[in-house]
Amino acid sequence: MARMKFICDAERCIECNSCATACKSEHEVPWGVNRRRVVTLNDGVPGERSISVACMHCTDAPCMAVCPVDCFYRTEDQIVLHDKDLCIGCGYCYYACPFGAPQFPQAGAFGLRGKMDKCTYCAGGPEENFSVEEFRKYGRNRIAEGKLPACAEMCSTKALIAGDSAVIAKIYKTRVVTRGKGEELWGWKTAYGGSDKVSDNLGAKA
């Protein structure tokens, strides 16, 4: 049985926001709702890191635990989804989620909240697959088409990878072993030749 997950490789993410754009475009997500976003730490400082964040489809999902109307469910592939017809927009899931994944569209004046909206792993929701209702409430169902989430497939540097946890963990492991660690990550030798170490080349330049 598959366990669908995302991994974001912070060494590769270039903060291009194509994941967030792909998500917005694929599901026609309304203004003010960001199912996926890119967070940058130490922006502008050498060594800054970016990471693409959305619902992580937790194995022990806290949103499921706190929902007062039990509108969350987990698919066979361990994707966490919810029924918008049941959601009352209380916002408990927003407080419980460590990733800020649940989003609430503005439904009226004075900050009135609409029903919760979040990343569906491009798996739609509890409506007939490919129906108009499914698209309107949850967005496109790429999983039923045999495709992976649009954000990961659109990622230009393949920083964001999606799929069965066993498969993507193997891809990530291969990456880490192949690229090494420390200064080699910058690809100094590929770009400038000579030693793999940046520090060796700094001395030569002076």
């Binding site: 598959a2 669908m4 022990d60 999902a61 806290p62 499921m64 635990a65 929902c67 109307v69 039990d70 509108c71 969350f72 469910y73 698919t75 066979e76 592939d77 989804l81 919810h82 029924d83 017809d85 049941l86 798996a123 739609g124 929701g125 509890p126 409506e127 007939e128 697959n129 490919f130 169902n141 999983i143 039923a144 088409e145 045999g146 495709k147 992976l148 990961a152 497939e153 393949k158 990878i161 999606a162 799929g163 069965d164 498969v167 993507i168 891809i171 291969t174 990456r175 072993v177 192949t178």
Partner: protein, 71 residues
């Protein structure tokens, strides 16, 4: 005797080393969802569906194309 005591002590000490589910098994109160492989594309073949997703995931591994991966 000492070994047996050690074994019992180890068993007791390790008894707490497991993960307790954080979410109580709550019933889902909403509508039933249709399986993603139930449509025309996979015609209920779960194995074919999972293979399609695994193949798609492996496209994300550019080392498979370049052959530069270190194992």
């Amino acid at each position: 005797m000492k070994a047996a005591l050690m074994a019992i002590a180890a068993a007791l000490a390790l008894a707490a080393c497991h993960e307790i589910p954080q979410d109580a098994a709550k019933p889902y109160a909403g509508k039933e969802d249709v399986q993603p492989y139930a449509g025309d594309r996979f015609k209920g073949d779960k194995q074919k569906f999972e293979q399609a997703l695994a193949d798609r995931a492996n496209y994300e591994n550019e080392y498979l194309r370049t052959g530069d991966a270190k194992q």
